[in-house]
């Protein structure tokens, strides 16, 4: 059990790279929370179509209610990580869950660090 969990963790920690790439095969995410967020995003992408269609049946006034109840049960049976609501836009570099600007996918602290070192293109200190 522990060995399986360890194996799964190792495999999960590995970054998925294309076959032609010759970078190092094992990579690391910043922390486990970031890894779980990555898993959620992947699953959400996989089940996106199905969820859309089942929800189309559910949020309906035309189809009979019994059918909609069945659809409710079906969507609840899907894996919990497949729903997009569980995705959190974390900082890409520090995995900070709060204070993340969407455009740069960076937390406010990292953003300030790069902007002050003039490594953000087109970003300037505001003065007016």
């Amino acid at each position: 059990m522990a060995a399986a969990a360890l194996g799964w963790a190792l495999r999960a920690a590995r970054q998925v790279l294309p076959a032609s790439c010759t970078r190092q095969v094992r990579g690391y995410y910043v922390d486990w929370r970031m890894l779980r967020d990555v898993k959620r995003r992947k699953l959400a992408y996989e089940y996106a179509d199905e969820r859309l269609r089942i929800n189309a049946i559910r949020k309906n006034t035309i189809l009979p209610k019994e059918l909609q109840e069945v659809a409710d049960k079906e969507i609840a049976a899907l894996p919990r990580d497949s729903c997009p609501v569980r995705i959190r836009n974390r900082c890409v570099l520090t995995s900070r869950p709060r204070g993340v600007k969407r455009r740069w996918r960076l937390s406010r602290i990292v953003f300030r660090h790069f902007a002050d070192h003039a490594q953000m293109s087109g970003v300037q200190r505001a003065m007016w």
Binding site: D49, E50, R53, A56, I62, P64, E66, L67
Partner: protein, 290 residues
């Protein structure tokens, strides 16, 4: 044997014989080979018979001339021998008959554009990395004559035509193995040079896909081969559904939404409808119970 002593007559005879020889050789050159063959035997006889007479004539001439007799004799004999050699060669067909070669050729008229091209080819503006000029290596290789085509003229029969079956077999047998691919990648990696300037860098980026191609094509990467009517008129996919009832109503709404969707391909839309069909088929027993 009667030998005429007077020198003038001898010279005239010699000249006549030489002119005769020349006309004969010319005739042989111009005329057909078939007529030359029976002539060749006659000429051989004639030349042999002439030789004796010529030798006698040569000796008579040499004796009549006030100069060194032996030298004049040897010179004249050498000349006659040369003449005979040329005639023999032409009879055998060894010498290049210029008439045949020139008759097919036409005089080339250089247009001013071609002349300009030729002159500009002499002056090259390309520079090597050292700063020295690259000289025009071969002037003849670049001359392009639009009037001369490749297919005019006699076949040389140097190359044999490869049949298309062998070509197909060759290409089919050598489907690129992994080793071939790896080798090709290695070669590409070794031979690639870092870009010399910004233009080459941009070219490399465009090949990789980092940079778009200009002028920007709005449909770059979009491979939608379907026409607009395949996107909009999707009712033909609704044949398996019941004609009446809430399901039909629902599916018609689905189709209305899909027809207004510009982001999905026709395949994706058909898959969407198929999923619903499968879903409702599975639930049919349940639906009949309602």
């Amino acid at each position: 044997m009667k030998v005429e002593v007077s020198s003038m007559k001898k010279f005239q005879q010699l000249r006549k014989r030489e002119t005769n020889r020349q006309t004969e050789t010319q005739r042989e050159g111009l005329g057909s080979r078939a007529s030359a063959l029976p002539r060749a035997a006659e000429d051989a006889q004639r030349s042999k018979s002439l030789k004796r007479e010529l030798i006698e004539a040569v000796s008579a001439v040499a004796s009549s001339l006030p100069l060194n007799k032996k030298q004049t004799e040897s010179d004249l004999l050498a000349q006659l021998r040369r003449h005979e050699e040329t005639t023999d060669k032409q009879k055998k067909g060894g010498t290049v008959n210029i008439r045949n070669v020139i008759s097919d050729m036409t005089i080339k008229k250089e247009s001013p554009a071609q002349r300009g091209v030729r002159v500009s080819n002499l002056i090259s503006l390309e520079f090597e990395e050292d700063g020295k000029r690259i000289k025009p290596e071969q002037l003849g290789t670049q001359s392009s004559d639009p009037r001369r085509s490749l297919k005019v003229g006699k076949r040389l029969n140097i190359f044999t035509k490869t049949s298309p079956d062998t070509e197909k077999a060759v290409t089919a047998a050598s489907s690129p193995t992994i080793w071939d691919l790896e080798f090709a990648k290695e070669i590409a990696a070794v031979t690639e040079q870092p870009p010399r300037n910004g233009f080459e860098e941009m070219i490399q980026w465009t090949k990789e896909g980092i940079l778009w191609e200009f002028p920007i094509d709005n449909e770059a990467g979009m491979e939608d081969d379907a026409e607009f009517h395949e996107h909009i008129f999707l009712e033909k996919h609704l044949e398996d559904f019941p004609k009446q009832g809430p399901i039909r109503h629902f599916m018609e709404l689905v189709i209305c939404g899909l027809s207004k969707n510009p982001y999905l391909t026709v395949k994706q839309k058909i898959e969407h409808i198929e999923w619903f069909r499968k879903y409702f088929e599975e639930k049919q027993e349940f639906l009949q119970g309602i």
